[in-house]
Symmetry: C2
Subunit: 193 residues, 2 copies
DNA sequence: CGATTTTTTGAATCATATCAACGTACGTGG
DNA sequence: CCACGTACGTTGATATGATTCAAAAAATCG
């Protein structure tokens, strides 16, 4: 239990066994079936979740009623709506299981408590956000500088597993283009190699 | 001296006078003339900089020789190339003064030392990156979900000062579109209101 | 003031969105 | 377990809108 959580934690901030046990008190395991929600628009994001198994997506519905996927997450990734989690205000995003999932939750109160009492947790969170920030910077750069074909290649290189596990139209939504266009990009790529 | 630096710091993490003085030992003031560089491609980013006065841009040159602006920064903002700063490997980005600037530098060694010795500095950095991450998420969302006209409006709303202080073609580069297109967006907007 | 850079405008081209139709795969209930 | 209905992915035709190239107008700098 919590294998992936502590593997990821130790990767950034090595822990003693005692420290692991200390943290374990604060963790809550949770299973989610495909299509179930971790968070729904209008609710406050009360936990961040590490994915032990499965995959999820974060999306939001714009005023015109269209869905936009802002993030995917697989095993070992941490997911949550940061603006809502930080501010304790209602979220505008939804977080949904794309496959059956096993999660490890850290509630807001547990998170605040751990930040206060355990310097290593603070370090871990800082490194986690730093990595997430750098990944997002790369994504932003790709969006402003690459052709669609190259953006799709970059997506595949960065997340080779995702493409096989989530429907294409969701990848199109994540990239901000129509499903038809993504289909044509793929057929162009297959023909040229 | 360091007014803006400590104003921003206190905003996130209130400090006593002693704590301010402790941190001051580690700070280095630096002035940069317009068009001078804080960081050039190929160099390691050895400091992060808070801008007391002036404005800067971060950009990178792609294989085809085209510049892409990834960030602007004004008074009170912190700038640096995080991947290079963290890893101490050469940066692929350039950071240039757009106006005469007064900066406050925190070197990598000072940063590491402060992280080790001063919990409040660790908290400050975590909150700083968290804010930057949330801002970047919003930018990403705008890119995948809004029309160009609305993206420009969102840009103006978010950074009302920048539009008057940096050349339009740089804003176009930041938005990932051609200068001509931005010019046409602006004339459309003026005609319709 | 003259030179250079920046912004605007126009016309042609290219890329993506949209709309529509079709084939296929999938899950769901009978 | 099969048959049906719904989702999904592909393909084609057309429309929209952004880029590119070229040139002129406007603004900025020395």
């Amino acid at each position: 239990m919590y294998e992936v959580f502590f593997q990821k934690f130790n990767q950034r901030t090595p822990l003693t066994e005692d420290e692991e046990n200390f943290i374990k008190q604060y963790l809550i395991p949770k299973k989610l079936r495909k299509r179930q929600y971790l968070l729904q628009e209008g609710d406050v994001c009360k936990s961040i979740a590490l994915i032990e198994k499965g995959s999820m997506r974060t999306y939001l519905v714009d005023p015109a009623g269209q869905e936009h996927i802002t993030a995917f997450a697989l095993e070992g990734w941490t997911i949550g709506d940061l603006p809502s989690f930080q501010s304790e205000l209602p979220s505008i995003q939804n977080i949904e299981a794309l496959e059956d999932c096993e999660l490890v939750l850290v509630s807001k109160s547990a998170h605040d408590e751990l930040l206060k009492t355990m310097p290593k947790y603070e370090i871990y969170i800082r490194l986690l956000i730093t990595d997430a920030y750098m990944a997002l910077q790369k994504r932003t750069l790709n969006m402003i500088s690459l052709s669609l074909d190259d953006r799709y290649k970059a997506f595949i290189d960065t997340y080779p597993n995702i493409a096989q596990r989530v429907p294409q139209h969701m990848i199109a939504s994540y990239m901000g283009l129509s499903p038809e266009t993504l289909s044509r990009i793929r057929s162009r790529m297959n023909n040229s190699k």
